[in-house]
């Protein structure tokens, strides 16, 4: 009894965090009603601040000195030249007329045969056949050249990225010190939305394929570094010791023990790198990267849903093929490690030789004959797909508009508008103070310091109002993501059957480039903030659901059994045992959800979501808005860092 009384008194003396949070919000609302509309820092779409003009001037100055400044002359321009040459070479091989020929060196037949053959060689015929069919489908869609441009850019970025990433990964795997050094950098790089890599790179490397490739390889390298290091670090310790105890040199241990043990993880890292690269190459269409992304962007800008759908479908097909082939290659590496004798080597070797001969014949034909080089245009049913998609869109807009618009208006009126009003019409310093206070209460003092710095810098970027509009959309989308994440995650965590149905869908959802999610929702909801939010929800939900489900599944079965034995109902079991014990997973899911949502909300600038995303896109399109776009890019980074720190601190607190 005495104990109870004591704890009561303590809780009376110091109010809980929830109460404090509520009090902070009430104070904020009270001040907001009084101060509404003051110091909002609103900035018109075409208005610039002095910072933006200074950035414009900086860009012009850089442009002027590009051929005289030694840093450019001997460093950046050289890099640009090498990357450009390599990309152009790959494009010439499969995509663009080159080497004095009216067609690429290898035509569609050769590429399809090569894809099939390589897939067979690294994985199995079960993957090779669908891969070849998938590539042929790209041709049938009437998008052969665009697809090959995308593929060439992706490959060139991946090859260059791996050239650096794997040695760096090995280094990080062997050296603790280097690992400690690169891990935070990689963390930061992976929280950045794809978008923000583009602007600063165009500053240095100009708009064009070279910039696109460089942005892509920077974005795509971290997973390969991380996975390689992880694979090497997780090699069985005793095996490494055994090798050392027999007097192997570091190099011998690396080649004979560590790399074979890490092979599968490294292949998985390559898979992640390829998927990230594909995602980035499509978005790099904004800085004039050729390929499917460009088709989608153009179609989105003219609201041509049919064409966007056809090209989006091609991206999906390519993503599926690349993902299947590389992840099956990883699986094969694993199987080879564990059961190397399974594959009957003689048969396989014969097949490889025969396939190789056939592939060479196909490649030869495709370099020699027009029918095997250019995809027959009359075989294309791309227009038919586009037409069908347009018809469906029209039908939806004619017949379901009451439903979809009702849905959209409801969310816009009830959730998005009030929140956006609240954030954008508040004095910036009041909102900044709120953000810092909330960070202290939910996260930690250290995270609050980061928040405060980010708030000040956001003010400095001059796009405060747009940033707050983006923040509002991000918060709304994240709320919906978390509702979905908890409901579906708990369901999936508790039922093996749901798990079996849902997980492959979620996995597939995660491999898709962010871009393609916009298309179907554009068809349903037209160009609006809501479209971007729905696309963001769909983009971010898989990761949140998976993290929550994993959290629920990691609750020890004995604890669940004990609670069941004590007579808990299912509801009690979920709310009193499983969710509280998965609290860390919930905060982690919020973190991941926020990062994914932010990156998608920004891309939504393409479909009328406005705010920061629009600023960035407009910056690429119009010279006088370049500086503002750059500032908006920085603002996105600041929002990302702030939200990431906040949720990470909250996650740490819940552990």
């Amino acid at each position: 009894m005495a104990q109870l009384a004591l704890s009561n008194r303590i809780s009376l003396r110091r109010p809980g965090r929830g109460v404090l949070l509520l009090a902070v919000l009430v104070v904020f609302l009270a001040l907001w009603t009084v101060l509404r509309g003051v110091h909002t820092l609103a900035l018109g779409a075409a208005d610039l601040t002095s910072l933006h003009r200074a950035l414009n001037d900086f860009n012009d100055a850089l442009g002027a000195s590009r051929d005289s400044n030694p840093v450019f002359l001997y460093f950046f321009n050289e890099i640009r030249l090498v990357v450009d040459e390599f990309t152009t070479f790959l494009q010439g091989l499969i995509a663009q007329p080159s080497f004095g020929r009216p067609v690429p060196v290898i035509g569609w037949l050769g590429v399809v045969a090569l894809v099939g053959y390589i897939s067979y060689a690294v994985a199995s015929w079960k993957v090779a056949l669908p891969a070849a069919i998938g590539f042929a489908f790209l041709g049938l869609q009437g998008l052969w050249q665009e697809s090959m441009d995308t593929l060439a850019l992706t490959l060139s970025a991946v090859i260059i990225a791996l050239l650096f990433a794997i040695p760096l990964g090995i280094w990080a795997g062997l050296s603790d010190r280097f690992n400690r050094l690169v891990t935070p950098v990689l963390d930061l790089m992976q929280t950045m939305p794809t978008f923000v890599y583009l602007a600063p790179l165009t500053l240095i490397f100009l708009i064009g394929p070279a910039s696109a490739t460089i942005a892509t390889l920077i974005y795509a390298a971290p997973p390969a570094i991380r996975f390689t290091a992880h694979g090497i670090r997780n090699a069985p310790r005793e095996t490494v010791e055994a090798s050392e105890s027999l007097g192997a040199t570091t190099g011998q241990t690396l080649v004979k023990v560590l790399l074979p043990a890490a092979k599968r993880t490294i292949v998985l890292g390559i898979n992640q790198t390829i998927m990230a690269a594909l995602s980035m190459v499509t978005i790099a269409a904004l800085i004039d990267a050729p390929g499917l992304g460009k088709t989608v962007v153009k179609a989105l800008q003219t609201l041509d849903v049919g064409t966007a759908f056809n090209a989006g479908l091609a991206i999906v097909v390519m993503a599926i093929v690349l993902d299947r082939v590389t992840s099956m290659a990883g699986l094969r590496a694993e199987r080879e490690r564990l059961h190397p004798r399974r594959t009957s080597t003689v048969v396989r070797r014969a097949m490889l030789v025969a396939g190789g001969v056939l592939t060479i014949v196909a490649v030869y034909l495709s370099t020699t004959y027009v029918w095997a080089s250019e995809f027959p245009p009359d075989a294309s049913f791309g227009p038919a797909i586009a037409q069908a998609a347009t018809d469906v869109t029209d039908w939806v807009q004619n017949n379901l508009s009451s439903v979809t618009n009702g849905f959209k208006d409801f969310f816009t009126l009830v959730l998005i508008d009030p929140l956006q009003t609240l954030l954008t019409e508040s004095p910036w310093w009041l909102l900044g103070a709120l953000i810092v206070a909330v960070t202290v209460l939910v996260g930690s003092v250290r995270a609050a310091v980061v928040s405060a710095v980010c708030v000040l810098l956001l003010w400095g970027t001059g796009v405060w109002s747009d940033a707050m509009a983006t923040l509002a959309s991000t918060v709304v989308a994240t709320l919906i993501v978390m509702v979905l994440g908890v409901v579906l995650g708990v369901w999936m965590g508790r039922s093996r059957m749901v798990e079996r149905v849902l997980r492959p869908l979620l996995d597939a959802g995660q491999t898709m480039p962010a871009f393609v999610y916009l298309v179907p929702f554009l068809a349903l909801f037209g160009a609006s903030r809501f479209t971007a939010i729905v696309a963001a929800v769909v983009f971010a939900a898989p990761v949140a659901i998976k993290v929550v489900a994993d959290g629920i599944q990691s609750v020890p079965p004995t604890t669940v059994e004990a609670a069941t034995a004590a007579g808990s109902s299912t509801w009690q079991l979920i709310t009193k045992v499983q969710l509280p014990m998965a609290r860390h997973a919930l905060t982690l899911a919020t973190n991941q959800g926020l990062i994914y949502v932010l990156s998608m909300v920004v891309v939504g600038g393409l479909v009328g979501a406005g705010a920061l995303g629009y600023d960035v896109v407009a910056g690429f399109a119009q010279g006088q808005l370049y500086g503002k776009g750059l500032a908006a890019g920085v603002a996105i980074v600041l929002l990302g860092v702030m939200l990431d720190r906040l949720t990470k601190a909250a996650a740490q607190r819940s552990q």
Partner: protein, 347 residues
């Protein structure tokens, strides 16, 4: 627990004042007598460092099987890793055939590892992507031996450890006991002077463990290598070890032969440890004999002092007078029914 000087003089390995401390600035712990004297817990509280091995001394004679025994966390695995510098010791000396290993540079250390020692691991540490024969030949491969030579040698040791016929298998196709035979063969392939065993059989089933222990005894007879054997299993230690070093919390508690440990435990901890050992199997007559008194009849049968009690039971019980324990014609003591029965009953 210093070894007798005579053992140290012609020893293969002599370890003096060996320390391994994990944590920040570990070298201050052995250097500072006030820190070195602390218990593990106190050291952790005072400095944040963990002392895995605290000033161990011992010497291993040529051809000896030297067992280091202790419970988990006693520092025995760290100790054996310090001997080959898989773990860098913090302080002390490890003298191998007159050379201080801790002073060796990387190249010299690699040469020593290639030619002089090898190690057998608890979880085998085999390369899953290589066949048995290539696993066994790994040590020869890193030395730069040609394929034909190393395969020939690997084949020899594979036969020696009784794995003939399995050389083309992969490790995961073999049972745990057979995998450890591969580990053993790998260690023997380079024809080292010293074999280190780090709890090699604790991951195996009891029956297979017994087979493998017998295998080690057989190999010891056949190849006569010096062996340093780490285990947490007292019966294994007693079965294999010529001498046993008992460790607790990084410190040496007692070092001696099995019968010394059982007959004269240094402290409560060791006594507790050896409490369940069937004493009749370990102790010899010299541990249980009593001094002759005046009313003893001294015409009974004679036995040597190093006869194990169990082997003397029949003789003593069948004789109707005390058995004389005699060495070189000198009467050391007497053993009667009472002593024998007390020992057999485990008192």
């Amino acid at each position: 627990m210093a070894a007798p000087a005579s053992v140290e003089a012609d020893s293969v390995i002599a370890v003096r004042g060996l320390w391994k401390v994990f944590g920040a600035r570990p070298e201050r712990v052995p250097a500072d007598p006030s820190l070195a004297a602390l218990s593990r817990r106190e050291l952790m509280d005072a400095t944040g460092c963990v002392a895995a091995v605290c000033g161990i001394d011992f010497a291993v004679a040529p051809g000896e099987v030297f067992v280091v025994m202790g419970l988990s966390g006693s520092g025995k695995s760290t100790l054996v890793r310090c001997l080959t510098r898989l773990v860098e010791p913090t302080a002390g000396e490890v003298v191998f055939e007159g050379e201080d290993i801790l002073a060796a540079d990387r190249k010299r250390l690699r040469t020593l590892r290639r030619d002089k020692f090898s190690m057998v691991f608890q979880h085998f540490g085999l390369l899953p992507h290589r066949r048995v024969i290539d696993n066994v030949a790994y040590g020869l491969e890193v030395r730069g031996a040609r394929k034909a030579d190393r395969w020939a040698r690997a084949q020899e040791v594979i036969e020696l450890v009784g794995l003939g016929g399995n050389e083309r298998s992969y490790p995961d196709q073999l049972s745990g006991g057979m995998q450890q035979r591969v580990g053993l063969a790998r260690a023997l392939a380079g024809d080292p002077d010293v074999l280190f065993f780090d709890e090699p059989f604790s991951a195996l089933d009891p029956l297979i463990r017994r087979d493998m222990q017998n295998e080690v005894i057989r190999l010891h007879h056949e190849v006569g290598k010096t062996m340093v054997f780490i285990t947490h299993d007292l019966s294994e230690a007693l079965k294999l070890g010529d001498r046993i070093l008992i460790m607790r919390d990084g410190k040496a508690v007692q070092c001696g032969t099995g019968e010394e440990l059982v007959g004269a435990p240094a402290d409560e901890y060791v006594a507790d440890f050896v409490h369940d050992v069937p004493r009749a199997d370990v102790l010899t007559l010299k541990w249980i004999m009593r001094p002759p008194s005046d009313d003893d009849v001294l015409d009974g049968p004679e036995l040597a002092p190093d006869v194990v009690v169990r082997e003397a039971v029949r003789t003593v019980l069948e004789a109707d007078r005390p058995v004389k324990v005699v060495r070189d014609g000198e009467l050391l003591g007497l053993v009667d029914h009472k002593e024998i029965l007390a020992t057999v009953a485990g008192e």
